[in-house]
Amino acid sequence: MDAEILWFGWFRADIIQEYGALFWSGLRMTVGVTVVCILQGTLLGLVIGLARLATARNAVANAACRFLLRWPATVYISFFRGTPLFVQILLMHFAVVPLFLNPADGWLISGDLARDLRQDYGALITGIVSLTLNSAAYISEIFRAGIQSIDRGQMEAARSLGLSHARAMYHVVLPQAFRRMLPPLGNNAIALLKDSSLVSAVGLAELAYAARTVAGAYSRYWEPYLTISVMYWLLTLGLAWGVRHLEARYGRGDSR
């Protein structure tokens, strides 16, 4: 047994040190998953947000927009915002992913490759897919709100100058909307960072997993959970600072 190292007379620093490698790799995993999911979630969220807003003047095209774009987007958003993320993660890991990725009879990949993928990246795949799908639902609503908050005159003016709908959206509406979307996007990123802890339930070795492992091994709770609390807190402070920085940079146009 290693020597006990006590901080302030009660904090067993030695057990954190002993599992240091797990906390360190856990920190990198948490940051990595969060960054990847923010980027993917933003892209997917933009697509879904635009799908939710799709309209057309032609009656047939509009009906197509409704059933092929607006409807699926609405159902998607409703499902991912209306069910607990924790449930989505368990469903994904133990039910959905094994359908596609199964050594015996995967729809997408089967055989040894499926086994290797599942063994080496199973929890990571679950984590990235679940968090991306979930955050995309929230982000799409941020996009929709941002786009709808821009006065319709902006689009009309751009269109009357001869820009196509897509170009007007890209050059005129989205840049203005993006400024208003920054604060909620920042909040969403912070929420995503914290929610990534839920993926520890399927064995993804991120920060919360490290804490659970230590708590399980020592039946001590202050040390591991306080340690990761501080780490999460520092990460969210850093994210908040980054978002403020972006707001100051891209929000300049508003403060004329």
Binding site: Y19, S25, R118, A123, A201, G203, T213, A217, Y218, S219
Partner: protein
């Protein structure tokens, strides 16, 4: 917060602290709260009627009946079960808890009530025959369990090859879906789960030491521990224990050490 409500909050806080500090006699006025993680058949699990049943539950009920105490079983997730004992949310743990040196430093245990071994579950075609044969392979265990301890010692506590989950059903699911090469757990539970699933088999590594399950109480609560020990000795002496053992494990009970 107004001054008066702050005052009220202070008074409440002081009262709570005082109540927590008061000596808690093993009074019969309230039933003893028994923490058990009910995802562990046949030791403790929820039946379709939402009752917690199993060998552990029957043992503690038999002990309670013998010693004349009241018990109430509360389903407590294993990850937080020792914290619940420390907090005073529960008075004792009967949840297939293995007695080991590390736990004995922090909690008091009764005499053993079950002889356990660690059993390895693998796919039927697997060539693994020992724990060491799993070196370099992916292994699923329940966080903080004896199997976690064994795997941590054999493969390194921060090894990425150890996959930790909250419950035994999850490690079996992970094994079934090909996420790991093996799952390790207590014999009673692993054998029970493996017989449910074709395509899995168990591997018994004789090198894995015997363990014993005990009932855990808060460190220093010797009064409760002694009561439980007396009850346990009594149900072993009168044959109740053997009857329950046969019911749940379809086998003859081993002779248990009394310490």
């Amino acid at each position: 917060m107004s001054t008066s409500s702050r005052l009220v909050a202070c008074v409440v806080a002081v009262a709570v602290v005082a109540a927590a500090g008061a000596p808690s006699a093993p009074a019969q006025s309230r039933p003893l709260v028994v923490g058990s993680s009910a995802t562990y058949p046949p030791f403790a699990y929820e039946n379709p009627q939402k009752q917690i049943v199993g060998f552990d539950v029957d043992i503690i009920k038999a002990i309670a009946a013998k010693t004349g105490v009241q018990v109430r079983i509360v389903n407590t997730p294993f990850v937080g079960i020792f914290a619940s004992l420390n907090n005073g949310d529960i008075d004792l743990i009967v949840s297939g808890v293995t007695i080991n040196e590390r736990r004995k430093q922090s909690y008091d245990f009764t005499a053993p009530y079950f002889e356990a071994r660690q059993l390895i579950a693998v796919p039927a075609g697997s060539a693994v025959t020992t724990l060491q044969g799993l070196n370099g392979k992916k292994v699923a265990v329940v966080t903080g369990s004896t199997a976690d301890d064994i795997a941590s010692r054999a493969f390194g506590k921060t090894s990425g090859n150890i996959r930790r989950f909250d419950t035994t059903p999850l490690i079996i699911s992970e094994l079934l879906s090909g996420g790991v090469d093996a799952a390790i757990g207590d014999n009673g539970v692993i054998a029970y789960r493996v017989q449910e699933h074709k395509g899995l088999k168990t591997v018994n590594d004789p090198a894995l030491a015997k363990d014993y399950f005990g009932i855990a109480v808060k460190k220093g609560n010797t009064a409760l521990r002694d009561t439980l020990n007396k009850g346990l000795a009594a149900i072993i002496a009168d044959g109740t224990y053997a009857k329950l053992y046969r019911t749940w494990f379809k086998a003859e009970p081993p002779v248990l050490p009394t310490q």
